[in-house]
């Protein structure tokens, strides 16, 4: 198999300076256009010759897409704002610290300096069968190579699998869902604002896409409403190494506790399914209960209902149970500590 790697293939590069120009280019080239934000994921795909766009639209010159500003009592984060900017922003740190924690859990400092929040939430799955360029469902083929009796799949899905068992790798996505963020998407028909959890789609809906963006669409901003600012947050990411690694699983919760009871809660989790999961059933079950270990145990058991293990990822079921438990009841101190 003669595969040329690590040399940039030929493509036409556009570097528009405004959103309008970007939309015109995306409208003109549709499926042939590749939208590049930070470029952290793009270059692997291109150099591996697995994705072969004719046109690359680089968003780095679109000033309107970058930066954080206060809006509507909350914040509006431009899609190409770097993760480092998000992590360091004083209002994010003060009121939306779950997002700074989540974004800081992603990748490595160098990658966060270049990688964008829009890219982090929109990145493709890391399934190595898919990334190896194998003709899997997600690549338009007719097989899932990751769900076979001989597959190597410890990173893959326990929930929401539909032929494809890939997972979404974003660390900021669950934090954004917990904050009830709104994603602003520009389409050829106009602007569309969707709830964070509805930005992502599973393989049952469309096996070749991770989110609602179609050719010609552009994620322009993410809005953080005031509703969940400064509430009680929990974020945890479990991974093989402490930096520069994708999550084995992560969890994010925002809670409002009144008189010792959970009054409001939003709970999200990622790397368990092809889309970040908002655990609405668990939210319903724990509302009005005390945020303690017992409630957490119950929530954890509820969360993993329907989970199904592959050859090597059975650990994700107890992991999810325990992360949900912690997101609600907190972390228990070790007996000897």
């Amino acid at each position: 198999m003669a595969v040329i790697r690590d040399v940039m293939p030929a493509f036409e590069l556009f570097q528009p300076a405004t959103i309008d120009d970007t939309m015109r280019l995306l409208g003109q080239y549709r499926e042939d256009a590749w939208v590049m934000a930070g470029g952290l994921d793009t270059f692997d795909w291109l150099k591996d010759r697995i994705k072969r766009p004719k046109v690359v639209v680089d968003l780095s010159q679109v000033k309107e897409l970058s930066g954080i500003r206060e809006a509507g009592g909350g914040l509006e984060i431009g899609a190409t704002t770097t993760l480092t900017e998000v992590v360091r922003h004083p209002i994010v740190r003060e009121k939306y610290s779950i997002l700074s924690t989540g974004a800081e859990a992603a990748a490595s400092p160098q990658i966060r300096n270049q990688g964008t929040i829009g890219g982090n939430v929109s990145q493709d799955t890391r399934c190595w069968y898919y990334r190896a360029g194998w003709p899997c469902y997600r690549a338009g083929g007719n097989t899932c190579f990751a769900d076979t009796p001989t597959a190597i799949n410890r990173e893959h899905a326990i929930l929401g699998a539909d032929r494809c068992v890939a997972v979404n790798p974003s660390d900021s996505a669950p934090a954004l869902i917990a904050l009830d963020a709104k994603f602003v998407v520009r389409t050829p028909k106009g602007e569309r604002v969707v709830d964070a959890e509805d930005y992502f789609i599973g393989p049952g809906t469309d096996i070749t896409r991770m989110n609602i963006l179609r050719p010609g669409d552009l994620l322009t901003a993410i809005r953080l409403p005031a509703d969940w600012a400064g509430t009680k947050f929990y974020f945890e990411k479990v991974r093989d190494r402490n930096v520069w690694d994708f999550p084995l699983m992560n969890v994010a919760s925002a809670m409002v506790i009144t008189d010792g009871k959970i009054e409001r809660i939003r709970l999200a989790l990622n790397a368990a399914a092809a889309r970040p999961l908002r655990l609405a059933a668990v939210e319903d079950a724990v509302r009005g209960k005390e945020p303690n270990a017992a409630t957490g145990e119950m929530a954890g058991r509820l969360a993993v209902q329907g989970a199904r293990a592959l050859r090597f990822n059975a650990y994700k079921i107890p992991l999810m149970r325990n992360l949900v438990k912690r997101a609600i009841g907190g972390v228990e101190k070790a007996a000897w500590a």
Partner: protein
């Protein structure tokens, strides 16, 4: 537009993946075009041919007297099979092709369940038709071929003896059954094998279970796809014929089980499709409508 989509297998070989789904439109438009052309043909052109139909040999009044008012055509079991098969087929086609035309939903589970229903119903039909029904009544015979030739010669203005009336099933019916049989068996055969590649309660999901190569699997998907879109055209045609006014009595018989004595005498040859004196009442469930062998 290519007919087949190709991809590079893990070992670097070019393998077929599935049909180009644009073919769906070819099939759907082909089915609709056939419908339009046929409707025009029947409406204007075939009128003159119909004028000769009266020449066909009539049934003797003696036979007519023996024919009950309602002639049983499809037993309850046969009608039940047809209904179940039709429902499964529609479910299969909609779950297969709606996502391809932009209606997104998690279709795989519905698709394989409908596939299992279709498979079971077809197995039932095979046994039922082989051991309880008149197996040969649905296959074209010598008379059908001769009459088809006669009709064709008359249609193009040549002299030919009048075609005889039909046996239990008109030739179109038999040919349609043959087409559905081929497409259905191909789509079921490939579909059953493909079930090893999705999650079902029957087997652990294992795309390598049968040891087929990537290429073999690819062709299987192509065959499944091709027969799938062929079924779209076939079913468009089938629904069209079922709704045509002159065929409604046949459609009704697939629902209620029988046709009227008049329709029987008008369209069918009592010698080729003899009916007994003790034929059941119209629409009777648990029918005893076993055909009397000729």
């Amino acid at each position: 537009m290519g007919l087949i989509e190709w991809a590079t297998s893990p070992w670097g070989r070019e393998v077929p993946i599935h049909i180009a789904f644009g073919l769906l439109w070819v099939s759907a438009i082909g089915g609709l075009l056939f419908l339009v052309v046929h409707a025009i043909y029947v409406g204007y052109w075939a009128k003159s041919a119909e004028a000769h139909a009266g020449e066909a040999v009539g049934a003797s009044s003696g036979i007519a007297a023996r024919v009950p008012e309602r002639v049983a055509r499809h037993s309850f079991g046969a009608r039940l099979f047809h209904a179940v098969m039709a429902l499964a087929m529609f479910a299969l086609l909609f779950t297969a092709f709606l996502p391809k035309v932009g209606v997104r939903f998690a279709w795989v589970t519905y698709h394989w369940i409908a596939g299992v229903v279709l498979t079971i119903s077809v197995i039932y039909h095979l046994f039922h038709a082989t051991f309880w029904l008149d197996f040969w009544s649905i296959w074209p015979d010598r008379v059908d071929i001769e009459d088809a030739a006669r009709r064709f010669r008359r249609a193009v203005g040549q002299a030919a003896p009048a075609p005889r009336k039909f046996a239990k099933y008109p030739l179109e019916n038999k040919l349609y059954h043959l087409a559905i049989l081929c497409a259905g068996l191909a789509v079921i055969g490939t579909g059953v094998l493909m079930m090893s590649r999705v999650r079902t309660p029957f087997l652990a999901r294992d795309p390598y279970l049968f040891g087929f190569s990537d290429t073999t699997w690819g062709w299987m998907y192509v065959l499944h796809g091709l027969t799938g879109i062929a079924l779209v055209a076939l079913i468009i045609a089938h629904v069209y014929f079922a709704l045509r006014p002159e065929k409604l009595f046949i459609t009704n018989s697939m629902i209620f089980g029988s046709i009227s004595r008049e329709k029987y005498l008008e369209h069918h040859d009592p010698e080729r499709w003899p009916v007994g004196e003790r034929a059941p009442e119209a629409g009777a469930a648990g029918s005893k409508s076993r055909e009397v062998p000729a």
